[in-house]
Amino acid sequence: MRPSNQGMHEHDLDLIAALADGSTSDAADGAASGAAGARSLVETCPVCRAEYEAQTEVIAWLAGSPTPAMTDMERAGLHRAVRSGIESEKPAAPAAPWWQRLGYVAAGLLVVAGLVAVLQNSGVLGGADGLAESAATTVAGEAEAAGGAEGTGAPTEGIPFVAGDTAEDFDPQEAPTTTAAASESLTLPFAEFADEARSSQTQREETDTNEDDRECLARAGLDRHVVVREIEDEKTYLVVMPEDPAEDPVVFFVEVPECRIVFEDR
């Protein structure tokens, strides 16, 4: 907006621009500043008319640009790459580990339930603990509904029997403490650690990355990044985020002492 030297009004160029792209209706907050008012300004004021013409010309010019498309070969390559990306992720599985782990937990429960049942039948648990009994039947029933996935260990086609009921209850914030500890043999749930790191933004500003870590980050190509925490597992991993809180909160996991990025979560 600048003072008018043509007419007796201040040129509300954003209003004129909104008229040009047809978005005035949602912009019309003031009574006098609706589409009708804007239209009459375009007719009477040269400054407003110039703005209107400039905006409509640019819109038309851009609209004439062809939409870039993939070639068949590029598309096929993309599909192959995504498929193999998903496949190769599976063992390290940031996508799947939680239900896989739940699968193992369920399998464990089945074993316990089976034991309870055997002991009950053989009279060792004579007095039949009601709670244990109901737990045993519930779990056994679910396994049966899933088409007898007991023997397979790792769930394949039958997995939804675990995931279906629990997916909505699953809280990624809780995962690092609960599930990581419960599964030694499985890779760490990096994606979930990343969510946790992101949710505590203040850490980024408060963190004090030491010299060794800085050197390690530099070797991993992560200048201007900070260590927000460390994860101790079989190995030690630095959880790394951009130094600048305004940057997108990409979370890197750097294996030490190798100083190698092992996982990246955006």
């Binding site: 160029l13 954003d14 621009a17 909104a18 792209d21 978005s23 949602d26 912009a27 703005e51 400039a54 905006q55 010309e57 640019v58 819109i59 010019w61 851009l62 609209a63 640009s65 062809p66 939409t67 870039p68 498309a69 993939m70 070639t71 068949d72 070969m73 590029e74 598309r75 390559g77 993309l78 599909h79 192959r80 790459a81 995504v82 990306g85 998903i86 992720e89 940031p94 996508a95 799947a96 239900w99 997995i159 939804p160 995931a163 279906g164 997916a167 699953f170 990624p172 994606a191 969510d195 190509g221 992560l222 200048d223 940057e247 997108d248 990409v250 955006r266």
Partner: protein, 182 residues
């Protein structure tokens, strides 16, 4: 175009590991994701790389979809962020390898760059805009997303999108006024 409700259901199936559902979601959106990435990155191979990363992220993070926006806008948001990340990485490691699956001898791709690829004069004009303005213009005026969709993808209020668009177009008009357009 797919009904948003159906897409949310598809995504729920992706969460439980349904690969077929994932491929359907991908087929619905891969063209636009590629187009957005190409326009942001200005390079076919990088755009394909970003498209691939976008869908791997979609697969990985399907359970984080909360249904507050359409599945499409959620995916385009991931795509835009993926492109930002790529641009940052390119700054960090200027000599990045191209992804293997892209065959440089693919004659179709080469031809595509020249003919139906990006219009050089539009690319040159967009290049003078700051990323905020440029991405608003790309999503709205080139990709045809509605204002609320653009706002969703960029994670800013509709009013902010509008002012970025208006100012972006004003700058483009100035540039064009100095050149071809009368």
């Amino acid at each position: 175009m797919t009904v948003p409700g159906n897409e949310a259901e598809l995504l729920a199936r992706v969460v439980i590991g349904d690969r077929q559902a994932f491929e359907l979601v991908m087929r619905n959106h891969e063209d636009r994701v590629f187009s957005v990435c190409l326009r942001i990155l200005g390079d076919r191979e990088r755009a394909l790389d970003a498209t691939q990363d976008t869908f791997l992220t979609v697969f990985r993070k399907a359970r984080q979809f909360e249904g507050r926006s359409a599945v499409g806008t959620w995916i385009y948001r991931i795509a835009v962020n993926t492109c930002y990340d790529q641009l940052r990485r390119m700054q960090r490691r200027p000599t990045e390898r191209f992804p293997e699956h892209l065959d440089p001898s693919d004659p179709g791709a080469e031809q595509e760059i020249e003919s139906a690829g990006l219009r050089p004069e539009i690319e040159a004009a967009l290049a003078v805009l700051s990323p905020d303005f440029r991405n608003a213009v790309i999503l709205s005026d080139l990709e045809g997303l509605s204002l609320p969709e653009v706002a969703d993808v960029l994670g800013v209020p509709v009013g902010t999108v509008k002012s970025r668009l208006f100012r972006g177009r004003r700058l483009l008009a100035q540039r064009l006024g100095n050149q071809t357009m009368s």
